[in-house]
């Protein structure tokens, strides 16, 4: 017993302590609110927002306690009764919009009477729940005018105050267009049957802008009514759809009819397809809104009777729904002579087709051009029915070269791993297009296990273009190898005697940036055989970092062979762009060296392209020196404006001079725009 008493006393003690602590905390928060409100009384726009920020922050604590909220509201109500500044009252009304209750309504109602303060009162009133606010707004409505009245009406609408319908019905007839318009919008939001009836009357008798507003509001009331009084909503939709001229309103009504008609929606859309093009278009857009298991046969039957654009849109809508029942119609549309319809049908096939469509799609992809080809390819690549992959592999054997190439390409695009063996065989096909596609696909599908075979295929490939593709494949697979990625390629390159094959392997090493291959590269650079030099230069130009940049510059300076020089210079310029650690002045020096070496206009243009990326006044001076060069002036103009855009703050006067010089001579729109922007920045 003694023990129990002690426990009870302990619990009591805790309760008292918690209550006391809470009271202290509560008092502290309230005191802080009062002190801050005192500061805010004289706050005006343009002064420090310190007290405002602090009170905003304190509101988090206020929200945690009913007592604090009540106390803060009380203090704010008192605040609004003082002659505090407008800025202060505006801020306080924002706070009351969150914590205010019916207690705040009287003081806010006072503010509502004054056109200067009515908006800030509504700011709070609109968010405060309860009928006290509605009553206050309705009481103020009759006594207000102009924008104050408009504001009250808008707030009644936002609050969906059903008791305001009669008053608002009257104000729909107000001579002030804002008042009438706001009343219509408010009735639309309130969306009771009374509100809808009131709107119906206005729709019948009004015209022009008011009619448009009334129609929108009437439709909005129907949307609001749809869940609770479907018949009333349908009546409105049908009336607007059948009787009104406004296209947007009829479209909105059609949407409402479809949404409320269940299984009957398909028939509504079928009939709509016979209307004008805007309604037809809207109807097709609504196909996606139909319930999942709707019978779309009547719609599909209308497909070939639609305009070209109508067919395209309906095919797309059916495809989006994966409407398998449309397959026959889609296959028929694939044969259309109209390219747009054909493309839409091909795209649709990717969504509703299966393995039986593989041959058709490959054949169209192989024998069509441009957009149709692209659509057929995409469709073939996206067909996701079972057995499609298997069908693609099996069809490769039996197809013509053109079709085979498409199937091979698709195997890569579809990432068909089981096609790898077949692709390694097709990489030896007699047809070079097939071989090219096979190498492309193998870049995705091969693994390091296939590496030896890929090296052999690369070495044995005789067509230079396709060999380049083989090199890319080789590199893609080499990148999957852990450890010394270049080892096998280096060995193959060292023993390879055919210059072109050797060159291909060196390029693969270049693309890999294989540091261990640099010795091999230098050996070839120093060879007496110009072809070997070219092979090495080509490979070094592809390097992934700047390691061989000096090698390229050296050979560009030393060689007597024009091709080697151009290749080396191009490679040098490419590698120059790779190093982000060099500062722009250092880069400029290197570009100037390149410019001195560049014999051809095309190389000089490339130098200007590189310089255009620098942020340097000296770079601007360099490119500006070519503005008068007939062969280089266009590139110099672009480069000057690009650099000017970066350096205008460093020397505005000089940049202005150059920009004006450019503007004086150029007819390039893009250059004019950039130059003007630079000048604007300088002058602003």
């Amino acid at each position: 017993m003694k023990k129990r008493l002690n426990f009870s006393a302990y619990v009591l003690l805790i309760c008292v302590s918690v209550f006391a602590a809470s009271a202290v905390f509560s008092q502290t928060t309230t005191e802080k609110v009062n002190a801050l409100l005192n500061d805010i009384q004289t706050y005006d726009f343009g002064q420090s927002r310190a007290a405002l920020s602090e009170l905003s922050d304190l509101m988090k604590d206020v929200l945690d306690s009913q007592a604090d909220k009540a106390a803060a509201e009380k203090a704010m109500i008192s605040f609004l009764k003082t002659d505090a500044t407008f800025a202060g009252k505006q801020f306080v009304c924002k706070q009351l919009s969150i914590i205010g209750t019916s207690e705040s309504v009287p003081v806010l109602s006072e503010l509502l009477k004054n056109s200067e303060t009515s908006d800030i009162a509504l700011y709070a009133l609109e968010r405060i729940p309860g009928t006290a606010v509605d009553d206050a707004l309705l009481a103020a409505l009759g006594k207000s005018k102009g924008n104050v009245k408009v504001g009250i009406i808008n707030t009644l609408g936002q609050r969906k105050t059903a008791s305001a319908v009669k008053s608002l019905e009257k104000t729909t007839g107000d001579k002030n267009a804002e008042i009438a318009g706001s009343s219509l919008a408010a009735l639309g939001k309130i969306a009771t049957t009374d509100a809808a009836d009131a709107l119906a009357k206005v729709v019948k008798k009004s015209k022009g802008d008011l009619k448009a507003l009334a129609l929108d509001a009437w439709l909005q009331s129907a949307d609001g009514l749809a869940a609770k009084n479907k018949d009333a909503a349908v009546k409105i939709y049908e009336s607007v759809y059948e009787n009104e001229k406004s296209t947007p309103a009829r479209i909105a009504a059609l949407r409402g009819m479809v949404a409320t008609s269940g299984a009957g929606a398909v028939d509504i859309l079928v009939k709509a397809l016979d209307k004008d093009v805007a309604i037809q278009t809207a109807a097709i857009g609504l196909v996606k809104e139909l319930p999942a298991k709707s019978n779309l046969e009547p719609l599909i039957a209308k497909l070939d009777k639609l305009s070209e654009m109508g067919q395209v849109r309906l095919l797309t809508a059916l495809a989006d729904r994966r409407e398998v029942g449309a397959k026959t119609a889609v296959l028929s549309a694939v044969k259309s002579n109209d390219e747009q319809i054909k493309i839409a049908a091909l795209k649709a096939l990717s969504r509703i087709g299966d393995d039986s469509d593989v041959d058709l799609l490959a054949e169209i992809a192989a024998n069509s051009s441009a957009d149709v080809k692209e659509a057929a390819q995409l469709s073939l690549d996206r067909l996701d029915a079972p057995a499609v992959d298997k069908k693609i592999i099996s069809s490769m054997n039996a197809s013509s070269s053109k079709i085979k190439a498409e199937l091979v390409r698709s195997a890569g695009a579809r990432n068909i791993k089981t096609a790898t063996d077949m692709l390694l065989k097709t990489a030896k096909d007699n047809d070079r297009v097939v071989r090219r596609e096979a190498f492309k696909a193998l870049a995705t599908l091969s693994t390091p296990d296939n590496f030896d075979e890929l090296i052999n295929l690369t070495v044995n490939e005789e067509n230079n273009t396709i060999r380049q593709e083989a090199v890319k494949t080789l590199v893609a697979v080499a990148l999957m190898i852990d450890g010394d990625r270049g080892e096998k390629i280096r060995k193959a390159a060292e023993k390879e005697e055919n210059i072109e094959a050797k060159s291909a392997l060196l390029q693969a090493l270049g693309r890999l940036g294989d540091q261990q291959a640099l010795t091999l590269m230098r050996k070839n650079l120093n060879s007496d055989n110009v072809e070997l030099q070219k092979a090495a230069v080509r490979a070094l130009a592809l390097w992934t970092d700047t390691s061989p940049i000096d090698d390229l510059l050296t050979i560009a300076k030393a060689t007597d062979d024009g091709t080697v020089k151009i290749l080396a210079l191009r490679g040098y310029l490419d590698l120059l762009k790779l190093d982000s650690r060099r500062n722009d002045e250092e880069s400029l020096v290197l570009y100037k060296v390149a410019m001195d070496l560049a014999g051809e206009v095309s190389e000089q243009r490339m130098v200007l392209s590189g310089v255009s990326e620098l942020r340097s006044i000296n770079a601007l001076t360099m490119v500006a020196s070519y503005l008068g060069n007939e062969n280089l002036k266009r590139e110099a103009e672009v480069a000057a404006t690009e650099i000017g855009n970066r350096v205008y703050q460093l020397d505005p006067a000089y940049v202005t001079e150059i920009m004006n010089k450019v503007l004086k001579q150029t007819d390039n729109d893009s250059v004019i725009n950039t130059a003007n922007k630079v000048l604007q920045k300088i002058n602003s």
Binding site: G46, K60, D64, S118, L122, Y123, N415, S612, N673
Partner: protein, 431 residues
């Protein structure tokens, strides 16, 4: 500039393009009646930074024709007119101070709405009621309710609506999301989104003065509370004032939060629990009051969390990290990274999820205006992307963990939080 782009730029010369016929919308009945070979007739509302950027972009499209511009700043609209007239070689572009007059034209097919955030809903809902297709800058709405109003209007009137969340039209972002959607990094329980931190205020002065000649300040304020003019309030800097925007968070939600939602296939929903903290400017500032630093967790019904934070708190600064049980994917502008690296070479197969492919955001809009297909960043998607930011902002402002019902778009058992869903507009403005 890449060498090819450089040489291409150098090769361009004025007036080379040949254009198809202009057929105004009136001749065709609007609402999707643009024929295949006709140019889409556009009006531009809001010609500040983003508006001018969009204008430049659309002027470069051979299938768009801009006939009218509207801005409350005379300088802005005159500069825009000059650009347009120079492009077309005539003086035909009309200028407007009041967007309602522009929308009343009967020759428009579409508009571009690049007004400040607090104007988005008023302009776009009105345009939708006119049956005009809309390219609108993000964020979708200043509040969740305003975003919902735009979405409702767009759906109701069958409008093609593209949000300016152009990252969706970048292959990097699409590929990153496809990797995630196709389970390449296993199950993803955490997504970390990094957005800019401190407000990037442009120093144009904050003194309170008379509005400059030619600037309709009252119209600029529109539905926002009445306050005196300051140059630091308008144009670029509106973003840092809560009467008009939600700061960096809402300015960028339409980008990286949008990508997080895309990757997680949560585009049509929103988190159910939101909790976090943020730092607002101290009292030293006299104008700017949006968050400078923030971090909040958004837990979704499926169990994963999207953690949104400013760049100073994010492991990679800006961008999105999807963290999975078998790896991770990081994506931001101009960069994609993954672990394992081999993911970056992986191919998305035919039986896998292929996301909407667009490589040109504005062209995607124009194409959809013709085909009536949904663009890549429609209102129903951007409504949810910005919703995440609004929810986070409210949770931080209230200092509470909030519970959200994504279906009803209401906070659960929290009437005070629900008050943040909308804001009263200054009379006479309304939705």
């Amino acid at each position: 500039m890449k060498r090819r782009q450089f040489l291409k730029a150098a090769a361009l010369s004025a007036g080379a393009a040949a254009f198809p016929t202009i057929v105004p919308a009136t001749a065709l009945g609007k609402n999707g009646a643009v024929a295949a070979n006709d140019r889409i007739v556009m009006g531009f509302i809001g010609l500040g930074g983003m508006g001018t950027g969009n204008l430049n972009g659309f002027l470069g499209k051979s299938d768009a024709h801009v006939v009218a511009v509207c801005d409350v700043d005379t300088d802005h609209r005159n500069e825009a007119k000059e650009m347009i007239d120079r492009k077309y070689g005539n003086q035909d572009c009309e200028t407007y101070n009041d967007f309602r007059e522009l929308l009343d034209r009967d020759d428009l097919d579409a508009i571009c709405n690049a007004t400040p955030d607090h104007w988005h809903a008023i302009v776009s809902t009105r345009a939708a009621r006119k049956g005009l297709d809309i390219y609108q800058e993000k964020p979708l709405g200043y509040t969740i309710a305003e975003g919902r109003a735009i979405l409702d209007a767009v759906e109701k009137y069958g409008i093609v609506f593209q949000t300016g969340s152009q990252q969706r039209s970048s292959s990097n972002f699409r590929f990153a999301c496809e990797l995630v959607r196709n389970g390449r990094i296993g199950q993803v329980d955490m997504v970390k989104v990094g957005l800019p931190s401190k407000s990037s205020i442009r120093d144009v002065g904050v003194e309170f003065t008379k509005p400059p000649e030619g600037f309709d300040y009252d119209m600029w304020l529109g539905p926002a509370p009445k306050v005196p003019y300051s140059p630091g309030r308008c144009h670029w800097n509106f973003r840092w004032i809560s009467d008009y925007s939600g700061g960096q968070l809402t300015d960028w939600a339409g980008h990286h939060i949008d990508i997080a939602q895309w990757g997680m296939d949560s585009e049509m929903t929103a988190p159910i629990e939101i909790e976090g903290t943020g730092v607002f400017p101290s009292g030293d500032t006299i104008l700017y009051d949006t968050m400078e630093s923030y971090e909040f967790d958004c837990k979704y019904k499926k169990g994963f969390t999207i953690k949104v934070m400013d760049r100073d708190r994010h492991p990679r600064g800006m961008g999105v990290i999807f963290e999975g049980t078998e790896g991770w994917v990081y994506v931001t502008r101009g960069e994609i990274d993954a672990h394992p690296k081999s993911l970056l070479r992986s191919t998305i197969g035919p039986n896998e999820v292929h996301l909407y492919e667009s490589n040109d955001h504005r062209q995607n809009f124009l194409d959809c205006v013709r085909t009536r297909q949904e663009p890549i960043a429609p209102a129903r998607v951007s409504h949810r992307s910005i919703m995440v930011a609004h929810l986070g902002l409210t949770a931080i402002k209230m200092g509470q963990k909030l519970y959200w019902d994504p279906e009803k778009e209401q906070y659960v058992n929290n009437p005070e939080a629900n008050r943040y869903l909308s804001r009263a507009m200054r009379s006479p403005w309304k939705l």
